[in-house]
């Protein structure tokens, strides 16, 4: 059951320190603070290829991996905890897709029909479908690079580190992904 998000107060360094020491309440606070971002990234990676059902399990796996490595996380400005979690989530999703490649691509998230209603609602729905198609059309690796850049603002070097590719490859993947998305949205806007 999904509820409107009610984010707790901003997680302080003290909470992170306590979580690094294994405090369960602090770990819970970290999950509450960052779950939407992690779930969103996983959903964006997996739903377009029919794996929306895996999102919650892989989100849990993401946080478990993070807790296991939390003692090595240095909040020294290089990357925020949220960004770090998103990079772990991306790798988890890529591992899952490599382990079990999707046989078919299906749009299982934006498929319900929208009745005649306000034009803005209809257009938003059409845009969502177009985005879903464009993202689904990307390979998992391209999708990962694209989402890390456009949703989470990682720079080319950070993306290269996460995906274990060189910066040039990151740039070329982003270029192609952007062109696909832009083309899909343009088709929606102009019919």
């Amino acid at each position: 059951m999904r509820m409107p998000s009610t984010q707790p107060a901003e997680v302080t360094d003290l909470v992170l320190l306590r979580a690094q020491q294994g405090d369960a309440a602090a770990c819970r606070a970290l999950v509450l603070r960052h779950q939407r971002r992690v779930l969103g990234q996983l959903r964006a990676m997996l739903a377009p290829v029919g794996r929306a059902g895996m999102v919650e399990d892989l989100a849990q796996e993401t946080f478990l991996r993070a807790f296991r490595a939390l003692h090595r996380f240095r909040g020294d400005g290089r990357a925020s905890l949220g960004t770090w979690l998103v990079t772990i989530a991306t790798r988890v999703a890529l591992n899952e897709l490599r382990r079990r490649p999707p046989w078919t691509e299906c749009l299982d998230t934006v498929t319900e029909s929208v009745g005649g209603g306000e034009a803005a609602v209809v257009e938003r729905h059409a845009s969502a479908q177009a985005i879903e198609r464009a993202v689904a059309d990307l390979s998992a690796a391209y999708r990962g690079a694209f989402l890390l850049r456009e949703l989470h603002g990682l720079d080319y070097g950070e993306i290269a580190d996460v995906l274990e590719i060189d910066v040039g490859t990151v740039k070329s993947r982003l270029s192609r992904a952007r062109a696909k998305l832009r083309h899909a949205l343009a088709e929606v806007h102009h019919g």
Binding site: F63, A69, R74
Partner: protein
């Protein structure tokens, strides 16, 4: 007025504000009720399981315990991840609450046990996330294998030459799987990883016997390590432990 979606439909430049907003709206995900509790419960259970495996490893029962999150085989991967996922299904009702309480009690017991162990042992959990290649990097070195085939063991009288060969071999496999994060001379070295160990400055002499065994255990759990590489690492660790025993 500029149309954010029409400016240049085939261009591959950065997304406009409107495009990015549409993407963010599509990707937005609500929080899940009970998700945080299920994660914390799963974490507590995994800690309890790891502590149990460490105890077994100390007894020498299972030098290469079944890894919890990155096993080597496809079937093991499914079983392991499914097992951890089953640990943390969102609780519901009285049974769920009782389960959570039990999980936290187990976690508290684990925390107490972990504090008894040397801190460095826990921190030597080799960073799987910094294993940079998904495919194993084959090593060309034959020196370690040759030493083993010769039967050169941990004899204090001949520990010089064969020991150095075994040590070099162990360092080679560690470097192959743990660089650049754990390589102080590498461009991609991570300070947090170097705090654990630096392949350029091995601390074998200062590590306790249990720390050596834990290093071996964690290395063996890496998903990218071949059986041969695992054997090389074990051979060196056993040689070092034996050398210390003979040194008295």
């Amino acid at each position: 007025m500029d149309d954010p979606f029409v400016a240049d439909p085939l261009a591959d430049g950065p997304l406009t504000h409107g495009e990015r907003a549409a993407l963010a709206a599509w990707a937005e995900q609500d929080a899940l009720t009970g998700f945080a509790d299920s994660v914390v419960a799963a974490w507590a259970m995994s800690q309890a399981t790891e502590a149990k495996l460490e105890v077994e490893a100390f007894d020498g029962a299972t030098p290469f315990a079944e890894p919890l999150t990155e096993p080597m085989t496809e079937q093991g991967a499914d079983a392991s991840v499914a097992g951890i996922r089953r640990l943390g299904h969102r609780p519901s009702g009285i049974g769920g609450v009782v389960g959570l309480v039990a999980a936290f009690a187990a976690a508290a017991a684990v925390m107490l046990m972990v504090r008894v162990l040397p801190r460095d042992v826990g921190s030597l959990a080799v960073a799987r996330d910094c294993a940079r290649s998904a495919a194993p990097r084959a090593l060309e070195s034959e020196s370690g294998l040759a030493a083993m085939e010769r039967g050169d063991g941990s004899n204090s009288d001949s520990v010089g030459a064969p020991y150095s060969v075994l040590e070099a071999d162990a360092m080679a496999v560690l470097t192959a799987h743990c660089s650049p994060c754990h390589d102080g001379a590498a461009e991609g070295a991570q300070s947090g990883a170097l705090d654990v160990f630096d392949v350029r400055q091995p601390k074998w002499r200062t590590m306790s016997g249990e720390q050596l065994r834990q290093t071996n255990l964690r290395f063996g759990e890496l998903g990218t390590v071949t059986d041969d590489e695992r054997r090389r690492m074990t051979t060196f660790v056993e040689a070092e432990l034996s050398r210390r025993a003979h040194a008295g």
